[in-house]
Symmetry: D5
Amino acid sequence: MLFHVHMNVHIPVDMDPDALADTVARERAYSQELQRSGTWVHIWRIVGEYANFSIFDVASNDELHGILSNLPLFPYMDITVTPLATHPSDVTAG
Amino acid sequence: MLFHVHMNVHIPVDMDPDALADTVARERAYSQELQRSGTWVHIWRIVGEYANFSIFDVASNDELHGILSNLPLFPYMDITVTPLATHPSDVTAG
Amino acid sequence: MLFHVHMNVHIPVDMDPDALADTVARERAYSQELQRSGTWVHIWRIVGEYANFSIFDVASNDELHGILSNLPLFPYMDITVTPLATHPSDVTAG
Amino acid sequence: MLFHVHMNVHIPVDMDPDALADTVARERAYSQELQRSGTWVHIWRIVGEYANFSIFDVASNDELHGILSNLPLFPYMDITVTPLATHPSDVTAG
Amino acid sequence: MLFHVHMNVHIPVDMDPDALADTVARERAYSQELQRSGTWVHIWRIVGEYANFSIFDVASNDELHGILSNLPLFPYMDITVTPLATHPSDVTAG
Amino acid sequence: MLFHVHMNVHIPVDMDPDALADTVARERAYSQELQRSGTWVHIWRIVGEYANFSIFDVASNDELHGILSNLPLFPYMDITVTPLATHPSDVTAG
Amino acid sequence: MLFHVHMNVHIPVDMDPDALADTVARERAYSQELQRSGTWVHIWRIVGEYANFSIFDVASNDELHGILSNLPLFPYMDITVTPLATHPSDVTAG
Amino acid sequence: MLFHVHMNVHIPVDMDPDALADTVARERAYSQELQRSGTWVHIWRIVGEYANFSIFDVASNDELHGILSNLPLFPYMDITVTPLATHPSDVTAG
Amino acid sequence: MLFHVHMNVHIPVDMDPDALADTVARERAYSQELQRSGTWVHIWRIVGEYANFSIFDVASNDELHGILSNLPLFPYMDITVTPLATHPSDVTAG
Amino acid sequence: MLFHVHMNVHIPVDMDPDALADTVARERAYSQELQRSGTWVHIWRIVGEYANFSIFDVASNDELHGILSNLPLFPYMDITVTPLATHPSDVTAG
């Protein structure tokens, strides 16, 4: 089941650079593990912004909330989740 | 080069049903041809809305505008285009 | 799996009264059948508005979109869907 | 008498972790006591957000304001209250 | 129990003048009856707009919705209802 | 001459509790003096918010600005003022 | 007593040209009479829009609402009124 | 003196095709004459929208309003004008 | 050439009172000098807000930006500039 | 390929003046190098704001994101990117 997720990151301008680098590194590892397992299907950077559009494939709303609320950058993010359905014109749909 | 496109369709409630059915059928054929050629990479229905999120892979802004402005449903749509870049955490990026 | 749905109805002021009454009657029957089957878990009128907050319990995003897009009043509605997860303080959660 | 309440929590990123944990624990106890007494009828987490939709059953506006303004997390919340009425299609209505 | 109600009226510019005059006259009679019975406590015109702020004193949300949805101008109105509580500085509060 | 005033209070979460208590006490005394003199005609708490709707009866715009800008909580408030006129349906109007 | 008024005009694209010309001519005469009497102190066109910013000098809110609601273009306008006070830096203030 | 202008075109879906084609042709001729005279310095299509960003070089606000309000498509446009100044980093500034 | 300027001032609640008083005093002197020279034509306080509507008469966009960006309170302001043209109904226009 | 970029700068009022001056100097050098190479085609100051509208000519979305995210002032900016296409009325288009 697919969900569209818009993540918008707001880093305080006075955040400690080491703490920031560490958080970003953990975010990256966390994201890549979920990408490799097929849960985080797509991630695209929005040009000019510290933000991304992502697609997740999960079994339930609870699974998705568990994943998102454990993002290392979660306390610095505004997240908007949109549930997706199969489009009737989608050529890849069964 | 990828672009995120949000299409929101507003059909007048008194539109002639045959004209609507014809326009929707042409929209579908148009979309599927572009999907098969690899230009319209993804299309997802937004749950509960007559709207979709799509991803296009085009060579230029002009190519994308040509495609979108020729959509049979274009006169009934509000469209928002967001340019996408490679995300530094994307495991599929070269 | 639960979803919060906000339905906002916009009836054209010059809509034929018989057509409106018929559509509202079909909407009611459709809603009540889904309520009795346990899919449409709650429906509340928003005071002062032709609008409601509803809770749906469905197996998938596709099931929810199928239900909502077949509402007899769908062409007259603005709908916003919000996926829900179990709240950690919920005393009814397992 | 039912009310729909949207609670949106904004924790400062530099809040002392012990103070935060203590406040969250008191919030949970406070919420669960009201859930068990039948006043706080439903609480759902909004997926991807530190936010919830809740339903309260109270005797008056004053009772509801008393409850909400005493939430341990109240100073960190944006709250929107919407009064609910019985929906004419509700199969559970008398 | 008091509620603050914002009523914003949108009359189609091509509405039949007799139908409009009749609806406005019925709205006035309806409002004045509720004012005299003590339910519609205050009504003020917003300067420069076809809109008003009103205060209602009702026993329940259901009573308020019944009153508002039966306004003769209801199909032409956008209504926003805000529940009110006693202010701790109010010198008239018991 | 009546004015509708929406006051929305934003207290910094780290404000000194004694300073806050002192400011709130002065605000209360200031408000009650104006209520007793007939200038601050109504004050209602908005349920779930640190905010109020108030009605002022003043002789001029300058008098109203003088009152509002001297509120002890003024530096912490967002204020919106709406001028009110007599409503043609008001049964209490001369 | 001064008020700032923003008038935004929305003419239906299919309005009868003679009716429009007549309404605009009456609006102009009405405005100029009020300008000459010193009530409508300033009127400026907003560049690129069918809209204006105006300043009115009236004795009361009721007088201002009477003037605005009788504008020949009133049914086609969105109007926003902002009460003005003397600025402490104004060199022309007594 | 430069101005940034955002033009957003809203054509009624039931507009007569010949009238539309004629209006668009006159708009084009009007625009190109102003481009050739150096007044309409730039015009860019916004991808996916019936809208443009333009830059005008005019001697005064009045000249700009005269130009914009005489656009053949003016009755169908929402226009937003932003005055521009020389940027201190502009390498082309004297 | 006239411009409408909306200045909205946001003073940090913990700003040093002496620094604030000094900045406000310099702002006042700066404003009054421009008022006396005929550049800052009008300044009105918005009732209930730390904000003003002003009218400037300048020779160019660059002159206006130079004036506004040198306001002592500029770092604490949100400013919106709207270019004004002569209104066709203005009785004072040549 | 052209892009329209809106940059809005938010400098903390308590930022160290030397750090600010250094960042602004580096921003200027960075911008001017890109202007001279033909990538940053236009930059205009928005009158009354610490903001600019710019036009970039780049080969790809990735190139544009690389440029923008390396702006010395990037952590202090809100940036909105709009892709541009050739306008059919553009007299300079081939």
